[in-house]
């Protein structure tokens, strides 16, 4: 077993679609209005568009794309700070490739690099640490972003730097946590969600417990799932099954990877290096309490925010952008007034157009093109409005 192709098998995908269709027919609620199931994670958004799953689903079931793309929710002020860091003459800024094109109010990292800033794309924070070892005369800053999936890797890198006493390495920490944001979305009330498919790779670190409040307090089914088409469809079926049975619990479709308690070593590393921030700003969503983490005092010397003075200004999102409504799931990407015109992947106005996990870019890239058809259908995709 290689854990990829088996979960893309067209025959199975077709069968699960049929199962979903049959189950949806039995749901009285689905006769009144389409069921809205939010996929929280940008990786799922990517899978849905890449395989054209949304078009294959029965009309009464809709995916609503959630805020789970860390690049897409990075606020402009933080991008500006990062650009300011990169422009510091002694700094070598290291980042994942995804973050290069996120627009700041002055420029993106890509533009800063073109203007001469020393910015390097790395695959892992460990590569950034290696760079710091090789260049003791430079201050190597790693642009740390991502949910709990990515936190253990940066935490372990800080611990390694501390072990070796590497002094010229630090993090610009923008890590965020998904649970407080889901709570903010659920409290918003503007949304009418019937259930969730939950992030598989965040959960391999955190386990499935942090989502219990969604089932218990908000009475919504929540199914943690993987990233192959079969995973998503099976999870969707599990959500509908809960609705049909009148249950709401946290279920785990991704048991081959996710354990209930998560990964102990990874959680311990996070706990050692990071602590919760009182609040963190999200692009399009505003400030959300306890939704980010910062470096603990014990590791202050690895915290770029304390090592360098940063402008740290709050910058409002551009007026024309409707990213917040799309992130909240209350507006479809193509309904944004600048979608495909002023805002395109080459010239993104909002960050949802930057990463292929952002709903707008995924929609722009895949809608109507359907790169990898899994099931032959004779229904044509709707024209982009």
């Amino acid at each position: 077993m290689r854990y990829v192709d088996e979960f893309r098998e067209p025959k199975n995908v077709e069968q699960w679609l049929a199962n979903i269709g049959r189950l949806a027919e039995q749901l009285p609620l689905a006769r009144e209005r389409p069921l809205q199931i939010m996929e929280v994670c940008g990786g799922h958004t990517h899978t849905i568009f890449r395989y054209g799953l949304a078009e294959l689903l029965p009309e009464v079931v809709e995916f609503v794309h959630g805020p789970g793309c860390p690049v897409c929710v990075l606020p402009m002020g933080r991008v500006d700070d990062c650009v300011a860091l990169a422009e510091h003459p002694r700094v070598t800024l290291t980042t994942f490739g995804d973050a290069m094109r996120v627009p700041g109010s002055r420029k993106s990292l890509l533009q800063a690099k073109a203007d001469g800033a020393d910015i390097r794309v790395v695959y892992s924070p460990m590569d950034a640490l290696a760079l710091a070892r090789r260049h003791p005369d430079r201050e190597v800053v790693f642009f740390a972003l991502g949910f709990e999936t990515t936190m253990p890797s940066t935490a372990l890198t800080v611990l390694q730097a501390d072990k070796e006493q590497v002094r010229n390495f630090s993090l610009f920490c923008n890590h965020i946590t998904i649970a407080p944001t889901m709570k903010a979305l659920l409290d918003d009330g503007a949304l009418r969600l019937d259930g969730f498919v939950g992030p598989g790779h965040v959960s391999m670190v955190t386990g499935t417990r942090p989502y219990r409040f969604i089932a218990e307090q908000y009475r919504k089914p929540f199914v943690v799932t993987g990233f192959e088409p079969l995973d998503l469809l099976q999870a969707l079926w599990m959500v509908l099954k809960q609705l049909a049975d009148g249950r709401c619990t946290v279920e785990n479709q991704y048991r081959r990877v996710v354990g209930e308690a998560g990964n102990k070593t990874a959680l311990a590393a996070i706990e050692r290096v990071f602590e919760v921030r009182a609040f963190f700003e999200w692009r399009g969503l505003g400030s959300i309490d306890y939704s980010g983490v910062q470096v603990r005092d014990a590791y202050a010397r690895y915290d770029a925010e304390r090592k360098f003075s940063l402008p740290s200004l709050e910058v409002a999102d551009p007026q024309a952008c409707q990213c917040g409504d799309v992130l909240r799931g209350s507006l479809k990407p193509w309904e944004c007034r600048v979608f495909g015109t002023a805002c395109r992947p080459e010239t993104p106005l909002g960050a949802l157009m930057v990463s292929s996990e952002g709903a707008c870019a995924a929609y722009y890239q895949f809608r109507g093109i359907r790169c990898q058809p899994l099931v032959a259908t004779d229904t044509q995709p709707e024209p982009v409005r």
């Binding site: 077993m1 290689r2 854990y3 990829v4 088996e6 979960f7 199975n12 069968q15 699960w16 199962n19 994670c41 940008g42 990786g43 789970g68 793309c69 860390p70 690049v71 994942f96 995804d98 695959y123 892992s124 924070p125 460990m126 590569d127 972003l145 991502g146 949910f147 999936t149 990515t150 253990p152 890797s153 372990l156 992030p199 598989g200 790779h201 965040v202 391999m204 670190v205 990233f227 079969l230 995973d231 099976q234 479709q253 048991r255 081959r256 990877v257 996710v258 354990g259 990964n263 102990k264 070593t265 990874a266 590393a269 990463s355 996990e357």
Partner: protein
Amino acid sequence: MCLGIPGQIIAIDDAANDIATVEVAGVRRKVNIACIVDEEHPVDSCLGDWVVVHVGFALSRIDEDEARLTLALFDELERAERAASSVGPSASRS
């Protein structure tokens, strides 16, 4: 961003620092495996294991039995349905 890719551990390079070579989608990479090593799974026993790799770190061991169960869930449903439809009034449905 939260992308994790399945890969197989094909060599242990530095047991003291938990560094292994993992083949991920046909590419060999040095990966930190500290998060999947514990008393039950000492470093040397990890050779051949399948793991999920994210930005240079293995964050979970993939459980083959669970993977098979997930794939089998479908067959089970289908069997149950066939059984139901063969006794039910809609037995003639194709």
